[in-house]
C-alpha cells in the first residue's frame, strides 16, 4: 500500500471494446442533450407569468420583459452553475481517484460558507465580487488542506476519504454556524447557502460567466487530469507535471464552487451524483466524459429548478431543497452499488 489516496481507487473496470464505447458515448450525448433541451424549453416557458412559445411570435411588452429579464437569465444561470459544478466534481473525483469526492464531500462548500460569513462580518458586507474573492480564498485553503491531509493518511476504504472530507466540512460548518449564531446571521446564512434561482434577473447573475472560463480550462486540461488521476508516479513517468496539474484541478474546482455558491447558493449532491452517473455509463476518460457531465449537470439543475417552480406555483421551493432530495436518493443508490461491487 502506498501512502497516497490512490489506494482508495475502485478496481479498474475492463475497458469496453472500441465500438461499444463509441456507441455508448453517442447515445449518452444524445440523451443528455435531449434532456437538456426539453428541460430548457420547460424552464423558458414555465413560470408565474403565462408565456407560451406561441406568445413569443406576437409578444406584448410585459411578455418580452418577463422573457428577457427573468426567464432567459435564469436559464443561463442554471446552465452555467449546473455544468460547472458537475465538472468541478468530476475533476475532484478524477484527481483524488475516488468516486465520492466532490466539492460537497471535500468540505469546499463549507469553506465557501465560512468565507461568506467572514466577508459579511469583517469586510462590511462588501460587494458580490468582494464576497466571491474572499470565499474563493477560503475555498482554496480548505480544498488544498483536504488534499494535503489525504496524502498523509493511509486509507484503504473508498468511503473513508469522503468521510474525512465531510468531517472536515462539518468542523468548518460548526465554526461558521457559531459565528453566524453569535452575530445573528443564522437565517441569512441559510439564505446564502441554499441554492435558489428565484432572485436571478438580468444584471444579477453575470458573474457566473466566470465559471465558463474555469470549465473551458478544465476541458483543455482534461487529458492531463486523466493521467494525473492514475497516480503520481504513473503521471510523472508519462512526463506530466503532476503537482501543477493537480493544482490547476483543485483551483478550478475551488473557484467554481466559490462563484456558484456565492451567486446562487449550494445545490447538494450535484458535483457528486452527476459525475458518478456519467462515468458509470461512459468510463473514466475525462475528455470524453466531461462534455456529457456538463450537459447532465445542467440538466439535473434545470429539472430540479423547474420542479421547484411547479410544485407550489406560484411560490417557489429552492432548487437546493429539491436537489437535496433527488440527489440524496441517487447518492444512496450509488453508495449501495459501490458496496455491492466492493464485496463481490
Amino acid at each position: 500500500m502506498t501512502r497516497s489516496t490512490v489506494d482508495a481507487a475502485p478496481p479498474p473496470v475492463s475497458p469496453p471494446t472500441e465500438g461499444r464505447r463509441r456507441g455508448v458515448r453517442r447515445w449518452h450525448v444524445a440523451g443528455a442533450l435531449l434532456l437538456l433541451l426539453t428541460a430548457s424549453l420547460a424552464s423558458l416557458f414555465i413560470g408565474v407569468s403565462d408565456l407560451s412559445p406561441l406568445d413569443l411570435l406576437e409578444p406584448d411588452e410585459g411578455q418580452v420583459r418577463v422573457f428577457l429579464v427573468s426567464r432567459v437569465p435564469r436559464l443561463a444561470a442554471i446552465l452555467l452553475a449546473g455544468s460547472a459544478m458537475a465538472v468541478a466534481g468530476l475533476v475532484m473525483m478524477s484527481l483524488t481517484r475516488n468516486r465520492f469526492v466532490s466539492p460537497q464531500t471535500a468540505g469546499t462548500t463549507e469553506w465557501v460558507g465560512l468565507g461568506i460569513v467572514v466577508a459579511t462580518l469583517w469586510f462590511g458586507g462588501t460587494s458580490l465580487i468582494g464576497k466571491m474573492a474572499i470565499a474563493t480564498v477560503f475555498a482554496l485553503v480548505g480544498t488544498f488542506f483536504f488534499v494535503w491531509l489525504l496524502r498523509r493518511i493511509v486509507l484503504t476504504d473508498m468511503i473513508v476519504v469522503p468521510l474525512v472530507g465531510i468531517l472536515l466540512g462539518g468542523v468548518v460548518l460548526a465554526a461558521t454556524m457559531f459565528l453566524a449564531y453569535r452575530f445573528d446571521l443564522l437565517q441569512s446564512l441559510d439564505a446564502w447557502m441554499n441554492g435558489d434561482f428565484s432572485g436571478v434577473l438580468a444584471g444579477r447573475y453575470e458573474l457566473l460567466y466566470l465559471v465558463l472560463a474555469a470549465t473551458v480550462v478544465a476541458y483543455l486540461y482534461a487529458d492531463r487530469f486523466s493521467v494525473a488521476g492514475m497516480g503520481e508516479s504513473f503521471a510523472v513517468n508519462l512526463g506530466i507535471a503532476y503537482t501543477r496539474v493537480v493544482t490547476v484541478g483543485l483551483v478550478i474546482s475551488s473557484v467554481v464552487t466559490a462563484i456558484v455558491v456565492v451567486s446562487v447558493g449550494s445545490i447538494p449532491f450535484l458535483g457528486l451524483v452527476v459525475p458518478n452517473l456519467v462515468t458509470l455509463a461512459m468510463g473514466d476518460n475525462l475528455r470524453r466524459v466531461l462534455p456529457v457531465t456538463a450537459l447532465t449537470g445542467a440538466a439535473f439543475v434545470l429539472v430540479c429548478d423547474v420542479l421547484g417552480r411547479t410544485i407550489r406555483a406560484p411560490y417557489e421551493i429552492p432548487v437546493g431543497t429539491i436537489g437535496g432530495v433527488i440527489g440524496g436518493v441517487l447518492f444512496i443508490a450509488l453508495l449501495l452499488r459501490a458496496r455491492t461491487k466492493g464485496a463481490s
Binding site: 408565474v48 407569468s49 418577463v66 427573468s70 459579511t120 428565484s198 434577473l201 411560490y315 417557489e316
Partner: protein, 318 residues
C-alpha cells in the same frame, strides 16, 4: 408558594396597592425584592402559556421580547436585563452596556438571568419556548401575540403589562386612540387597491398574506390582499420577481430583513430595482413603501411599535 388570588380580587387588590406604591415610590428607597409587603402586591395574570402570579410593579425585570420592551419603555418602566439584539432606533439605549445582556432573542443566558435575581421575566414570540426553564427562576409571563387575531390579542397582552405595572389608565387611553386610528385606516384602505407584504432577505424575496406574522396589514388594517393563498410560514413564501409582476399589487409593503437585523446586506431598494418590479402598478404609482424594518421585524408587538405600524400603513392608504 403563595396561593393565587382569585381574578376579581386580583384586579381590585393590587390596584389600590399600586396607587399607594406609586404615590410614594419615588421618595422612598427602592424596596428590596421579596419585600414583606409584596405578599399583598401580587396579581395573577393570564398570558399565552397559562396564568402566573407576579408581583405588582416588580423591581427587577428581565425582558426577552423587544415588543414588550418597547411598551415598557414608553410607560417609563426600568428594565434590568434585555437580550442582545438589533434594537430599533427608538430603543437604541438598550443596546448599550447600561442594561445587562441576558442572551439572544431566542436563547436565554440562564446564568445571566439567574444572577440578576429578577422579580419578573417577560418572554414572547421568539423566546416563548424558553418559558418553562425561565419560570423556574422567577415568575414569568409569555406575551406572544396571536397573529391570527392580532389586534385583540395584542391589546390583551399590553393590558396585562399595564396591569402588572399599574399603568392601566394610560394604556387604556392609548389603546382607545389606536382603535380609532385603526378604524380610520380600515376605511381608507377600502379604496386603496390591493397590497402585498414582502420581505427581502440576502437578495431574495418572500411574500406574506393574511394570518401571517405581518397579516395584520390585511386582517386588521383592511388592505385587500393581492394574493389570498400565501401560507403562514414564519419566513413567508419564497417568490420570484415574476410573481410580483404577475400579482401586480397596487401597494407594495417592503420589509428589509437585512436592515432589521443590522446587516448591511443588499438593501431592499436595490433588490427591488429591476424592470419587472418597475412595471408593477405599485412602482408606477410610487406606492412601494419601505417600512421601519426594526419595528416590524424585531419589535412588532409593542404598544409604540403598533402605533408606528398603523401610521406607516395609514401613510400608504390615505
Amino acid at each position: 408558594m403563595r396561593t393565587a388570588a382569585r381574578p376579581l380580587a386580583a384586579l381590585a387588590l393590587p390596584l389600590s396597592v399600586v396607587l399607594a406604591l406609586s404615590a410614594c415610590g419615588d421618595s422612598a428607597d427602592a424596596a428590596p425584592a421579596g419585600d414583606p409587603a409584596a405578599g399583598a402586591a401580587e396579581v395573577t395574570v393570564s398570558h399565552a402559556q397559562g396564568e402566573s402570579t407576579v408581583p405588582v410593579d416588580p423591581e427587577t425585570v428581565v425582558v426577552f421580547d423587544v415588543g414588550a420592551l418597547s411598551t415598557l419603555d414608553s410607560l417609563g418602566v426600568d428594565v434590568a436585563g434585555v437580550p442582545e439584539a438589533a434594537y430599533p432606533e427608538s430603543l437604541e439605549e438598550y443596546a448599550g452596556d447600561d442594561h445587562t445582556k441576558v442572551g439572544s432573542l431566542f436563547e436565554p443566558d440562564y446564568e445571566a438571568v439567574n444572577a440578576l435575581e429578577p422579580d419578573l421575566i417577560i418572554v414572547g414570540g421568539r423566546s416563548a419556548a424558553a418559558y418553562p426553564q425561565l419560570a423556574e427562576i422567577a415568575p414569568t409571563i409569555d406575551l406572544t401575540v396571536d397573529n391570527g387575531n392580532f389586534l385583540e390579542s395584542f391589546e390583551e397582552r399590553v393590558t396585562t403589562l399595564a396591569e402588572v405595572f399599574g399603568e392601566e389608565d394610560a394604556v387604556a387611553d392609548r389603546l382607545a386612540a389606536l382603535d380609532e386610528r385603526v378604524a380610520e385606516v380600515r376605511a381608507a384602505a377600502q379604496d386603496a387597491g390591493t397590497g402585498l407584504f414582502v420581505m427581502t432577505n440576502a437578495g431574495e424575496l418572500s411574500a406574506y398574506g393574511p394570518d401571517t406574522r405581518f397579516g395584520m396589514v390585511y386582517d386588521e388594517l383592511g388592505v385587500s390582499a393581492a394574493d389570498e393563498n400565501l401560507t403562514a410560514a414564519d419566513h413567508g413564501d419564497a417568490v420570484s420577481f415574476e410573481y410580483l409582476a404577475e400579482k401586480d399589487p397596487d401597494m407594495l409593503f417592503v420589509l428589509d430583513r437585512d436592515a432589521a437585523i443590522g446587516e448591511s446586506g443588499t438593501a431592499a431598494e436595490q433588490v427591488l430595482d429591476n424592470e419587472l418590479v418597475a412595471a408593477t402598478s405599485a412602482a408606477q404609482n410610487d406606492e412601494i413603501h419601505y417600512l421601519d424594518s426594526a419595528v416590524w421585524y424585531i419589535a412588532p408587538t409593542g404598544l409604540p411599535s403598533v402605533e408606528t405600524m398603523v401610521e406607516e400603513i395609514a401613510a400608504a392608504v390615505e
